[in-house]
């Protein structure tokens, strides 16, 4: 499965570790418990804050009566809009790097209630148990007014969001004549596809330990986040702190899936309390409270697709209505992909928002594409049957060799190989085309497939490298590792760039004193931080070479950096590898006890601009259905992913395995059910918000189809954290149809829908 890649084009990168299934370097710390998460920093003299949430959805707070609970010994303070000190209040102070357009929620700022479970107070006490008890007794008088939380009632109130967020691209203008082409085509399909809100639910609950350092406003802020620098800026802007005062640390993150991209309210609460009380404070949210902020939005999607008798797509129209809050316009790319994935001249894509009384939705693993690709890939499956084509054949017939949205060639695209390798492994050629025609005993068997597409991006990131006289290298960056393997990838790239054994390399991250990196998201971290690490190690290498050349009788004198290699702890001349200097000797001779470099890597816009850069996958799924009872099992999945060069096939495979489980979850289980009478999500715990258990997960085969691509970035990395999940839910729904002849277009495919 893992392919060893021929020497990457970049001259200094060795292949000792790059492309190899190296174990996670942070694995031992995680399994022994040495890895500490935000709520585990037991700093001395800690107070505990418990957040109180609004039971109403819209209205205002009339009165908060904190006096009774303040009389309980051990209760320290109750913070609410009534007593919060004057803080920054302008929108821009609350806008974090990931904030969508609009006016961010300002915790404890005003008595108005805008969504159910809005945090309205923080009760601080000497123990967690006491804080929780006191919080349960806090009397708050509300005045509720009417609310609307149901997107179904907002079908006529859609609007086009402005381009208020730089990372969001509005759908391209229509091309060709989609309406007419649809009318004329012999095979047409139109349907609506729906899923409700879904909550990210990472295993680690949100928490912040704000350690007061006894010195003015200086704090160590241990936060659960996907981006310490983003949290730092947010805190600095609201509380008027300096970088030194707002030191944010997030070395380990127990999953995020997008929920940690934006700072959440617990960090505001913990910092507020710590500064006001001049005391260390921890605020952790409960699982129920994890439903009090963002989510993947409830979305209604209409697909109109048509093909001619040869199976060629004639028209593709994809229109969506997605929820957002009253105060921000959350945007994600839902429909754009539909214009890229297939060859079709007549395309209309439309994306609208409607405001309801919920908290602003947020990015959740493969935001936008997850919803869009589900609808698109189910619709195309339906059309393939109407056009009398095998679903795979149908996709190959309409394969896009260029990106018709942007009218650009792809920097690389091995989706065709994904189709072929995936189909071969799965045995797709043995599929009987007719629904309900395959059986295993009393069970109906269904085979379905689908495709996924995701962006390949590199973002600007910085890193630092420090080499000691003993030959120990530390590479560091303020990036985050949400379980994706960033630590390991950093160490692998550093070790190969400077020719050191992995055991001599240490990766450090998740700390705002380190060089800045963007939030860990969009599957761009391996590329962005990987490039920063390589760049800084090369800078360090140049310094080493200069020092080596200053040594007595140096064999490397006069040789350019381009003409040396770093291998086995040595610097060697390319044309004569007997000319070597040991790296340890360089430092010893220089008299320095360490050598350092810092560098920033930015994407090469000029090189990238002419190309469209994407990762793809093809998913093949087998389901077995007990028709009488409606129960469905996903018995087999083959997921072939083309995501550039794979730095570490082991961690990459883990990402794809997790993606498949995530896809099974989206297809069969996940749904945050809102009781619109209350405007409140009701299944707000993991007993009732279902995600798969082991018994729901069967055979999963991962195929990594490697791509050579030095346009995306010199390392050729596209990122794999999200693309592997795309297509899975659609493939399962398609397989369910093939098994039963029933189309379920409203996720999840639960047993009642198959009865």
């Amino acid at each position: 499965m893992s392919q060893t890649i021929a020497n990457p084009p970049d001259i200094h990168l060795g292949t000792e570790y790059f492309g190899k299934p190296v174990n996670r370097v942070d694995g031992p710390a995680k399994v022994t418990g040495a890895a500490k998460y935000a709520a585990e920093f037991n700093v001395p003299d800690l107070y505990y804050g418990v957040v109180v949430n609004s039971p109403i959805t819209v209205g205002k707070i009339i009165k908060i009566n904190s006096a009774p609970i303040l009389r309980i010994p051990g209760v320290v303070q109750v913070f609410s809009h009534e007593n919060v000190p004057t803080l920054a209040w302008r929108d821009k102070n609350y806008k974090d790097d990931i904030a969508p357009g609009g006016s961010p929620f300002r915790p404890l700022h005003e008595p108005n209630i805008m969504f159910n479970m809005q945090p309205v107070a923080l009760v601080v006490a000497e123990t967690y148990e006491l804080a929780r008890y006191a919080a349960s007794l806090l009397e708050i008088e509300y005045e509720a007014t009417a609310h609307q939380t149901n997107l179904e009632f907002k079908r006529k109130d859609g609007f086009h969001p402005g381009k208020e967020k730089s990372s969001w691209t509005p759908p391209p203008p229509p091309r060709g004549n989609p309406k007419e082409a649809y009318e004329k085509a012999p095979h047409q399909h139109e349907a609506e596809y729906i899923h409700l809100a879904q909550h990210n639910n990472p295993m680690e609950n949100f928490a912040t330990t704000a350690e007061w350092l006894g010195d003015g406003k200086k704090l160590n802020i241990y936060d659960k986040t996907q981006g310490a620098p983003n949290v730092q800026k947010y805190i600095m802007n609201i509380f008027g702190l300096s970088k030194e005062e707002a030191h944010v640390v997030s070395r380990y993150t127990g999953g995020g899936f997008g929920s940690g991209l934006r700072p959440q309210h617990q960090v505001f609460m913990a910092v507020l309390a710590a500064l006001e009380l001049k005391h260390s404070v921890r605020v952790s949210l409960t699982r129920e409270q994890m439903f009090s902020f963002g989510h993947r939005p409830h979305i209604l999607q209409t697909l109109k697709v048509a093909a001619d008798d040869t199976g060629a797509l004639q028209s593709l129209q994809h229109e969506t209505l997605s929820e957002t809050s009253q105060f921000e316009n959350f945007t994600e790319m839902v429909v754009n992909w539909s214009g890229v994935l297939y060859q079709c001249e007549n395309v209309k894509l439309d994306y609208e928002l409607a405001k309801i009384d919920v908290y602003t939705p947020m990015d959740m693993r493969a935001p936008g594409a997850a919803s869009g690709s589900f609808a698109l890939e189910c619709a195309l499956d339906e059309l393939s049957y109407k056009a009398g084509r095998d679903p795979l054949e149908f996709r190959l017939l309409n394969y896009a060799d260029t990106d018709l949205n942007e009218k650009k060639p792809f920097s690389s695209k091995k989706l065709r190989e994904c189709y072929h390798q995936g189909a071969a492994k799965f045995g797709w050629d043995k599929r009987s085309p007719t629904p309900r025609s395959m059986r295993d005993g009393d069970l109906l068997v269904g085979w379905g497939m689908a495709t996924g597409i995701w962006d390949a991006g590199q973002k600007k990131a910085a890193a630092k490298a420090s080499l000691t006289a003993e030959g120990h290298l530390t590479v560091s960056s303020a990036t985050n590792d949400i379980g994706t393997g960033t630590y390991t990838v950093m160490a692998q790239i550093a070790a190969d760039t400077l020719g050191l054994p992995l055991t001599d390399v240490k990766a450090v991250l998740g700390d705002t004193t380190l060089p800045e990196a963007p939030v860990q998201g969009g599957s761009a971290t391996a590329a962005s931080v990987g490039m920063a690490v390589q760049t800084v190690c090369k800078a360090l290498g140049e310094k080493l070479l200069k020092l080596a050349q200053k040594m007595d009788k140096s064999p490397l004198k006069g040789i350019d950096f381009e003409n040396v290699q770093f291998v086995d702890g040595q610097i060697r001349a390319n044309e004569d590898i007997s000319k070597t200097v040991a790296i340890k000797d360089v430092l010893a001779a220089s008299g320095e006890d360490k050598l350092e470099a810092e560098a920033t890597a930015s994407p090469d816009m000029l090189k990238q601009a002419p190309y469209s850069k994407h990762a793809h996958n093809a998913v093949f799924v087998e389901v077995k259905v007990d028709e009488e009872l409606g129960t469905l099992h996903v018995t087999r999945v083959v997921n072939a992913v083309a995501a550039g060069r794979i730095v570490n096939p082991k961690t990459a495979r883990s990402q794809v395995l997790g993606s498949v489980v995530w896809g099974i979850s989206m297809a069969l289980m996940e749904e945050s059910v809102m009781d619109h009478n209350f405007g409140r999500y009701m299944n707000h715990d993991l007993a009732e918000y279902h995600i798969p258990v082991h018994a729901d997960v069967h055979d999963i085969d991962v195929i990594l189809v490697e791509e050579e691509d030095d346009i995306v970035n010199p390392l050729g990395i596209k990122g794999i954290g999200e693309v592997g999940f795309l297509g899975v839910a659609a493939a399962i729904a398609n397989a369910a149809y093939h098994a039963t002849g029933k189309r379920v277009r409203h996720l999840p495919v639960s047993l009642d829908k198959l009865l």
Binding site: N53, P55, E129, R132, Y133, S136, E288, G441, D442, L443, K624, D626, E628, L629, G630, T631, H633, T635, L668, M669, V673, D675, N677, F678, R680, M682, N683, H684, D685, A687, E688, H690, I691, P692, V693, H694, A695, D696, H698, S750, L751, D752, L755
Partner: protein
């Protein structure tokens, strides 16, 4: 969670006396339900009486040929007990279809019977609920009611009893032994749990302060023909949407006696003796089973999100009886059989 005191009783008498002496006290078994409810402020006992030191952990044979499950025997120990596996495999299957291995290691048999409903609103103090706060209203009737009752519900509550273990116990006609301030008594399983009526705050017919000491199984275990079929939203670690405990005694193809109890459909494990009567003396065929199934759901009523359960229950009954007759469960390694984890 409010503050509370905790004592650990070593005799049944001491436990009962301690309870009588403290207003607002509760017995603590494995704590897997009670402690969660306390954390969520749904239950607010001021005094807990730990039961773990009571000599009620054994599983032992009774002189009349039955089996006594000590109140404190864990769900795991019960399910894997050789006597239970050999003589009451239906019960073993039922227990193992519930919760997770970790929970079953902690959960006690008595606690399992007394676990409270999983109604979303019951667990969320921000919403009205007659069971939690009598008179406040039932949010589920006009709300989200996927896991709610279709049989025996009332205008004041449509909650279900969530226990799996209780369903085979109902089918097997277990007897619950209790000790209370007024002495000991035996309660037939059918009379143990109750329907909500106007007092949904009461889940069962225990009197205040009564302690369960054991659950007694009668001799007849239906060990030859049985099935516990559980249908749920994922393969393990989820409560039943519908579950069926079916037990048959066959003479050739003729049913001598049949028992049937349903979980996930009512405020108590649902047994319909009129429907069971339709099994007696009949051939063990799908036709017979369909008639029985139709009888069970006669008068069933669904709500916005659970009407599907009526049809599901019918099909599940037929399937369970069929499986019990044939005893040829699918052996698919992919755990297709929905009753086992």
């Amino acid at each position: 969670m409010n503050s509370f005191t905790l004592t650990k009783a070593t005799t049944v008498e001491a436990a009962v006396n301690d309870n009588a002496a403290h207003y607002g006290s509760a017995y603590l078994g494995g704590g897997t339900n009670l402690i969660d409810l306390m954390k969520g402020n749904i239950e607010r006992p001021t005094h807990l009486i730990g039961l773990n030191k009571l000599p009620l952990h054994q599983i032992e044979n009774l002189p009349d040929g039955g089996l006594r499950l000590g109140a404190l025997a864990t769900n795991a120990d019960t399910a894997y007990h050789p006597e239970v596996q050999a003589r009451y495999p239906l019960l073993s299957q039922g227990i193992l279809a519930g919760a997770s291995a970790q929970l079953r290691n902690m959960a006690t048999d008595a606690g399992n019977l007394l676990q409270r409903t999983r109604c979303y609103y019951f667990y969320d103090t921000a919403t009205p609920c007659n069971k939690r706060e009598p008179g406040s209203g039932c949010s589920a009737i006009a709300g989200f009611n996927r896991i709610h009752a279709i049989l025996g519900q009332s205008e004041s509550c449509i909650a279900t009893h969530p226990s799996d273990m209780a369903v085979p116990l109902a089918a097997l006609e277990a007897v619950v032994q209790v000790s209370g301030p007024d002495g000991t008594r035996s309660i037939k399983f059918a009379d143990f749990h109750r329907l909500p009526g106007d007092t949904p705050e009461l889940d069962n017919n225990l009197q205040r302060g009564e302690l369960i000491t054991s659950i007694d199984l009668p001799k007849k275990g239906f060990e030859k023909h049985y099935t516990y079929l559980k249908l749920r939203d994922r393969t393990s670690y989820a409560f039943a949407l519908v579950s069926v405990a079916a037990a048959l005694e066959l003479d050739g193809d003729t049913i001598v006696e049949g028992r049937l109890a349903l979980g996930g459909v009512a405020h108590k494990p649902w047994r319909d003796q009129d429907a069971e009567a339709l099994l007696k003396g009949q051939p063990a065929t799908v036709d017979t089973f369909r008639r029985v199934a139709a009888k069970v759901v006669q008068g069933a009523k669904g709500y916005s999100s659970n009407t599907f359960k009526i049809e599901l229950a019918k099909r599940a009954i037929v399937r369970a009886l069929k499986q019990a007759t044939e005893m040829n469960y699918p052996t698919d390694t992919n755990a297709f059989l929905n009753s086992n984890p």
